[in-house]
């Protein structure tokens, strides 16, 4: 790892100012960034830890919306997000216990790993990503593998999840990396059924809109019987072929709907 200057501001304002310089990089829990820097795939000159900003911590529920601070760890979400049980289950199965004590929801969303769990939750639950400068709907946030709508130096300060009527996440675990080989998050929301798929597409997380329409007509797993998922554009690697992942999308969606 190349050396860098470490900073730990106590406020969002101070963090944003420190991140103005082009080779500064925000640090959440470091569970992706530190290994990436060890491989020299990233080499920021300044690392700005967000862990000292009290405002970016914790889980709150008010007026039908759960707000999770951007620097809240997966372990804290698993312990405090009872208002959305599917999110408790999701956060409690990210990586392993040590990773969950460090990794953060803001870090995961900002990284948008194509196999990460949180992007599927944010998209299916129609979350709003709150940053230091604006609010971004999840539908407008994710922009292809590892891509997001975030500008340079923009920080995710919180994520707002409208409470769903019901939700379920089905993760087919890749047991070595502990990421989703494929994962499907289904939510029954006030705007209808939303189905978000992670770990499958080369474009990263996406909504399976055909399944959503079918479920809006008939909210049962059998509504999905006639649908097929094309393997075109699906991730293919040593853990699973594109066709295998395409099949998993259908299977996991049915399981999630059945578990709602």
């Amino acid at each position: 790892m190349y050396d860098f200057e470490f900073k730990k501001p106590g406020s969002i304002k101070a963090a944003v100012a420190m991140l103005e310089s082009e080779d500064a990089q925000a640090l959440g829990g470091g569970q992706t960034l530190i290994p990436t820097m060890k491989q020299r795939l990233a080499s920021p000159a300044v690392l700005v830890s967000l862990a000292g900003i009290a405002k970016m911590q914790g889980v709150n529920v008010a007026n039908g919306v759960m707000t999770i601070g951007g620097a809240t760890t997966h372990a804290d979400v698993a312990a405090n997000a009872q208002a959305i049980p599917a999110l408790v289950a999701l956060a409690g199965h990210i990586g392993d216990p040590a990773v969950r004590n460090r990794g953060t929801i803001g870090g995961s969303l900002a990284n948008n790993d194509p196999s990460a769990d949180y992007p599927a939750a944010a998209l299916a639950l129609n979350a709003t990503i709150v940053t230091d400068r604006r609010k971004i709907a999840a539908d407008d946030f994710f922009d292809g593998m590892f891509g997001t709508a975030l500008e340079n130096g923009e920080i995710i300060t919180a994520v707002r999840f409208p409470l769903p009527k019901a939700a379920n996440y089905q993760k087919f675990l890749q047991p070595a990396s502990r990421f989703a080989l494929t994962g499907v998050f289904v939510a029954d929301t006030k705007d209808g059924m939303r189905v978000a798929v992670t770990g499958a597409s080369e474009e990263g997380v996406y909504r399976w809109t055909e399944a959503e329409s079918a479920l809006n007509d008939t909210p049962e797993a059998s509504a999905l019987d006639g649908l097929s998922v094309s393997p075109d554009g699906m991730i293919e690697d040593l853990h699973g072929t594109a066709a295998y992942r395409a099949n998993l999308v259908g299977v996991l969606t049915k399981r999630a709907v059945t578990a709602l």
Binding site: E5, F6, K8, I34, S49, P97, A98, N101, R102
Partner: protein
């Protein structure tokens, strides 16, 4: 170089580190606490597991400066004051929970983290708590047995 100060196994310590100095490196190189092992350095094996403010973390995936001001616990703090093995360590010895011993510091720290929260863990609780701790020798069965034995010894 920047000065960091923290409490390690109840003792106040400090030292000069670079931005990139990992907590594992600070413990091993600055403090000579070499019980914390670096098995992979890619945050997969868990041999480097320590506790920071009462929570288990991989010390190869946290910067020393991130732990500035923290309470850190390492394997060296698991023995009794007279140097004899602590309860979890003794259970690993008794139940053959180690062979080469390389993963053991991490296993013991993961076990201590679990038992601090759950005094009567099921076998499934133990196994899932060890998701991030890899052992290439034992096949895990005796590690699970050791932790079960430690749980009953402690309760």
């Amino acid at each position: 170089m920047t000065k960091v100060s923290m409490t390690v196994n109840g003792k106040a310590v400090s030292g000069e580190v670079e931005g990139r100095t990992l907590l594992a490196e600070f413990l091993r190189n600055n403090l000579h606490l070499t019980g914390t092992h670096i098995g992979c350095d890619t945050s997969q094996c868990g041999a480097c597991t320590v506790h920071v403010n009462g929570k288990m973390v991989k010390s190869c995936a946290i910067l020393a400066q991130e732990a500035d001001g923290a309470e850190v616990a390492t394997i060296e703090g698991m023995a009794n004051d007279d140097g004899s093995l602590g309860v979890i360590q003794a259970a690993f010895q008794e139940h053959h929970g180690l062979q080469c011993g390389f993963c053991t510091p991490g296993m013991v720290m993961a076990a201590a983290d679990l038992l601090a929260k759950n005094t009567n863990p099921s076998e499934a609780d133990i196994r899932s708590h060890l998701d991030g701790n890899i052992c290439r020798c034992t096949g895990y069965h005796n590690i699970v047995k050791s932790i079960q034995a430690a749980a009953s010894a402690l309760s």
